[in-house]
């Protein structure tokens, strides 16, 4: 692969670009379509690992504790992520329940777990044979994890319900906010290029 070493193809427009081999820490964009060719490398993904581990710790309380409570004429209702999925399942809305489960529980959890595993492999210099699948799965899960959209939906529901009932945020809300921050940080500071570089340096 000597020819391709300094060459790079733009992922969006397939333009062949010669990247300067020196100054690897620079941020390079495609001259034709402005896509990111190689993001500035910020060293080992320590922040991603820290965020992923913190997120995993926060995960159980964030999804099981109630986010919101409503009191209406002495009747109480509460919502947590898990109970939301459970209620949709009870209402026979299986496809919607599965979609909510995937986007707000399964994908964020797996994203954090896979990010942590990948970072640990890089830090420890491990090259397990399943490493490529791990990096690919991390990327896929990032795509399906939609906690930030969920948070916006929760905000909309909260304001929508302020009028008819006495609605209040519950203990799960700060946990979910923390989890959301961890998921965003883990996504932003995880560089798959670094992971692939680590994989290509494995002893053959």
């Amino acid at each position: 692969m000597t020819e391709a070493d300094s060459l790079c193809a733009c992922p969006d427009c397939d333009l062949l670009v010669t990247l300067p081999s020196s100054g690897k820490a620079d941020h390079h964009t495609c001259p034709r379509c402005d896509a990111v060719l190689s993001p500035a490398q910020r060293g080992p993904d320590n922040l991603a690992l820290a965020a992923a581990v913190s997120g995993l710790i926060l995960f159980a309380p964030a999804i099981t504790l109630p986010l919101m409570k409503v009191d209406m004429l002495g009747q109480h209702g509460s919502h947590s992520l898990v109970s939301g999925v459970g209620r949709l399942l009870a209402e026979q809305e299986t496809p919607v329940a599965l979609l909510v489960l995937l986007c707000t529980i399964a994908a964020p959890f797996l994203q954090l777990l896979f990010t942590a595993l990948t970072c640990i492999c890089i830090r420890q210099g491990w090259h397990p044979s399943r490493f490529p699948q791990l990096v690919r799965a991390t990327h896929k899960m990032q795509e399906w994890s939609m906690l930030e959209v969920f948070a916006m939906g929760a905000l909309v529901a909260y304001i929508k319900m302020m009028d008819p009932g006495e609605i209040s945020l519950a203990t799960g809300a700060p946990c979910l906010t923390g989890l959301l921050l961890c998921v965003i940080l883990a996504g932003q500071h995880f560089h798959s290029e670094l992971a692939w570089q680590h994989w290509s340096e494995r002893p053959q």
């Binding site: 391709a4 427009c13 333009l15 062949l16 379509c33 209702g77 209402e91 986007c103 939906g153 529901a157």
Partner: protein, 205 residues
């Protein structure tokens, strides 16, 4: 300016490694030397797959908007809400900002997304005279905005659980929610199956 394809080089869609595309027999598939994913010069059958997803999503847009997605029962009485009537209700109660957010996320975004993908497909198939930079901006917009249409579904999941107060008030989800979820997922698939490099290939011909 040459594309990598002209030089017989393929970029791995998973790990980004550039490698020489081997000459293949009819049913052979090349694999990336680094991560072992399948290696293509262009995503196979990208246009057809994208069309299939777009058409399915457009058809499902009808039940998604016409069928009720939510029924709010207050003291035993309640009307099923479609997406639009829910927005109108919010607007009438004076919650304009929320009405606008829900309107944008659940009606404007899915429609604009589908139209944007159809435009991109037409540019590739019929060579509509659109500038390449506009097309790529459209492509990136579609990718960026896609997930936000999920907002309504999450809101439904919150409301049905929260407002489950026996006879006083109750919220139930409706069949429109399933159709709407399918629209969102299909548009995400459509955006993912479109290969943006096809737009730039036209320039090189």
């Amino acid at each position: 300016m040459t594309s990598a394809m002209r030089r017989g080089l393929a970029r791995c869609m998973q790990c980004g490694l550039l490698s020489k595309m081997p000459s293949l027999g009819k049913k052979e598939i090349a694999h990336c030397p680094r991560c072992d994913s399948e290696l293509y010069l262009r995503r196979p059958r990208s246009v057809q797959t994208t069309w299939a997803h777009v058409i399915a999503a457009s058809l499902l847009l009808l039940p998604a908007n016409l069928l009720p997605i939510l029924t709010v029962i207050h003291f035993g009485k309640g009307e099923p809400d479609t997406i639009m009537s829910g927005i109108v209700d919010l607007w009438n109660t004076g919650l304009w900002a929320i009405a606008a957010i829900v309107f944008i996320a659940s009606i404007v975004v899915p429609i604009i997304k589908l139209m944007a993908i159809i435009t991109l497909l037409l540019v590739v198939q019929w060579r509509l005279p659109l500038s390449r930079t506009q097309c790529i901006a459209l492509y990136r917009f579609v990718h960026f905005i896609g997930r936000w249409s999920m907002l309504d579904l999450f809101m439904i999941s919150i409301l049905v659980t929260l407002v489950h107060l026996g006879n006083i008030a109750n919220v139930e989800s409706g069949p429109g929610a399933t159709a709407f979820g399918a629209v969102v997922v299909l548009t995400i698939f459509a955006a993912n199956s479109f290969d943006p490099r096809l737009i730039w290939d036209l320039e090189n011909e």
